[in-house]
């Protein structure tokens, strides 16, 4: 289980201090698709970066399967596959080169690695272009390659920050199908998005965050019930409006 308990995160920006997270608490259960929703600048990416050990919390407690992201960063990263909207692929390598590289970094034996690359390339339909230089890829091809990189070491937990950003409708649908499929394989998936239809369709457990604070935490039905709305988008605005009033 993943737990965020009263987590704070502040950033210094010149002479001011920006509070990105303010006493945030939530739990993610094993095997669920967890949706972290919020507008731009709400604190979604900051939360996910803390979980993936890229940044440290300013206060509060975080645990990922009983491990502490500050003390046990490498052990946590071993369990995680991370895909963020601010990741990119460039250089002269191909998807196959990159998958081999990250596989080796994760100490996967060569024979196992070859099988995994074969399996992932078939599963994510990247075989056709996987020997081409990544700089020639479209956004969708890059996103599929990044997903393959995140999955190469067969992590238990997948953190996907805005995975459909910049993708066309067909590739977006494919990516979401992969996520459902991965859940069926027993993975825990943390998904951050500002697209409500995606969250409504995918997530069993939803947390709405705005300006660094948790506004709602529950299942889709619980959230709709609490706000008396018919769909998640209306409920989402309801939570934001309550704050504005």
């Amino acid at each position: 289980m993943i737990e965020f308990k009263n987590v704070d995160k502040s950033f210094k920006a010149k002479k001011t201090v920006v509070k990105a997270l303010d006493q945030c608490s939530f739990k993610v259960n094993k095997g669920e698709i967890f949706g972290l929703l919020g507008p731009n600048g709400a604190g979604k990416t900051t939360s996910l970066r803390i979980l993936s050990t890229l940044i440290k919390p300013s206060g509060g407690e975080v645990s990922v399967g009983n491990l502490n992201p500050v003390k046990d960063a490498r052990a946590i990263r071993k369990k995680l596959g991370f895909l963020s909207s601010d990741m990119n692929l460039s250089g002269n390598l191909s998807a196959r080169d990159l998958l081999t590289f990250f596989g080796r970094l994760n100490h996967i034996p060569e024979t196992t690695l070859e099988k995994r690359i074969e399996g992932l390339s078939t599963y994510l339909e990247i075989k056709k272009f996987m020997d081409r230089n990544v700089s020639t890829y479209s956004t969708g091809m890059k996103q599929k390659t990044l997903i393959a990189i995140a999955l190469i070491h067969e992590p238990e937990i997948l953190i996907f920050d805005e995975p459909t950003n910049g993708l066309d409708i067909i590739t977006s649908r494919l990516v979401l199908e992969y996520l459902k499929d991965l859940q069926n394989q027993g993975k825990t998936i943390i998904l951050s998005t500002h697209i409500m239809t995606v969250a409504q369709k995918m997530c069993e457990h939803i947390v709405i965050i705005d300006r660094g604070r948790i506004k709602a935490d529950g299942t889709l039905n619980e959230i709709l019930e609490e706000t008396g709305k018919d769909d998640l988008e209306d409920a989402f605005f309801d939570y934001l409006e309550v704050e504005d009033k």
Partner: protein, 397 residues
């Protein structure tokens, strides 16, 4: 260590797949050096040939004296010009190459008397031809004076050989190896610094600040690899490129200089003994690894390649100035506290390596200790920076 090698292998694989970068790092310096020395050598030869074929135009108010001088100038063609409107303009425009004015008539003897007026020589230092004929004429005037003295000595019954006395024999005790070493001591530290830094700027910042800019670093950081492994891999990668580029450039320089340039001092290869090569190699490695560590730290700190370059330029310029100072023959020949200054100690050690009779073991030891200690500190700093969000996510995006 395994992770470091994995990252290192990937960096090289990425580099070698980019043919343009490979060309600019490994092939271009060779073409440039060979091309430069070929051009300089050809120009010098052409200049010599041109001077041999030149007809020097000299304006003089006393052609008789100039004709006397001409008698001793077998290989120099001279055309006497007897009128010019404005001598300065004529010299600048190349209408004449020299102006020779005699104030007291056409007898050369008068100019050897006490209180005699000077012979005025007008030249234009912006022209090689003018400079060349000026030195020829000055030499011939002195020759004429010596001839006059010889005649006087003969007339007075004195042996004119006295003018050839005392006989002076100069012995340069510097061996060919030492002569070459003196030249290498001047040029080598300066050249090495240029090449160790210049390849770092392109490759080094591309793999650090460039990766931040292109948003490719986060993928690596979100993997289980340790930050120290990343820091070492980047440093070793930059260092290997630095050393390779510097070595290729030096070989190209040596070939170009020795094969295509006339009048080089000594046989340069004589200066390379097993001991000097070992010390040179280890010194260069210690400097290269230190420069790579500086580049990695600056590259992680900077928001972009542009910013990283601007931070490093002052360090580069300071080291370069010291390199230029090292080109003075007497500079850095004695052991000083500069042995404790990172990078500068490399210039001092290499200078001493080739210009002093004994191997600079004290400076060399200090160079290794200081440079490697500073590098170790920079590696620790770099791995901490790779782990610090303040630097990793510090971009212009």
């Amino acid at each position: 260590m395994k992770d470091t090698l994995t990252i290192l292998r990937k960096e090289f694989y990425n580099l070698f797949k980019d043919k343009r970068t490979v060309f600019s790092i490994f092939v271009l310096p060779v073409i440039i050096f060979i091309g430069i020395f070929f051009a300089i050598g050809t120009m010098m030869e052409q200049e010599e040939q041109k001077l041999e074929q030149t007809v020097y135009k000299i304006y003089t108010n006393e052609p008789a004296i100039l004709n006397t001088l001409k008698e001793n100038m077998t290989n120099t063609e001279i055309e006497i010009i007897d009128t010019v409107e404005n001598m300065e303009e004529a010299l600048r425009d190349g209408d004449i190459h020299l102006g020779l004015i005699f104030q007291s008539g056409d007898s050369f003897d008068q100019y050897l008397q006490k209180d005699s007026p000077p012979i005025e020589i007008y030249s234009y230092s912006g022209s090689n031809t003018s400079e060349n004929i000026t030195s020829i004429i000055r030499y011939q005037l002195k020759n004429l004076r010596d001839q006059y003295l010889k005649d006087k000595l003969v007339a007075s019954g004195t042996d004119p050989e006295i003018l050839e006395r005392p006989i002076m024999k100069t012995y340069n005790v510097a061996t060919e190896k030492e002569q070459a070493g003196s030249f290498l001591g001047m040029i080598l530290p300066y050249m090495l610094i240029i090449y160790l830094f210049s390849s770092s700027f392109s490759v080094g910042f591309d793999t650090t600040a460039g990766e931040k800019e292109r948003q490719t670093l986060t993928i690596l950081l979100s993997n289980q690899v340790s930050r120290t492994s990343i820091a070492w891999a980047k440093i070793l990668y930059i260092m290997m490129i630095n050393v390779t580029t510097a070595t290729i450039s030096l070989i190209a320089f040596t070939i170009g200089f020795t094969q295509l340039m006339p009048d080089i001092p000594g046989n340069i290869l004589e200066a390379f003994t097993p001991a000097t090569v070992t010390i040179l190699f280890l010194s260069v490695i210690s400097m290269a690894v230190l420069i790579a560590a500086i580049i990695v730290v600056v590259g992680i700190f900077a928001k972009s390649v542009k910013e990283a370059t601007s931070y490093t330029l002052p360090i580069y310029i300071i080291v370069l100035i010291v390199g230029v100072m090292g080109m003075q023959p007497q500079a850095f020949r004695e052991t000083t506290n500069l042995a404790f200054v990172p990078l500068i100690n490399g210039i001092v050690t290499l200078k001493q390596l080739f210009t002093t009779p004994n191997l600079p073991m004290y400076n060399f030891t200090m160079l290794l200790i200081v440079n490697l200690a500073v590098t170790a500190l920079l590696v620790i700093l770099a791995s901490k920076m790779f782990n610090n969000e303040k630097y990793v996510f510090r971009t212009e995006n």
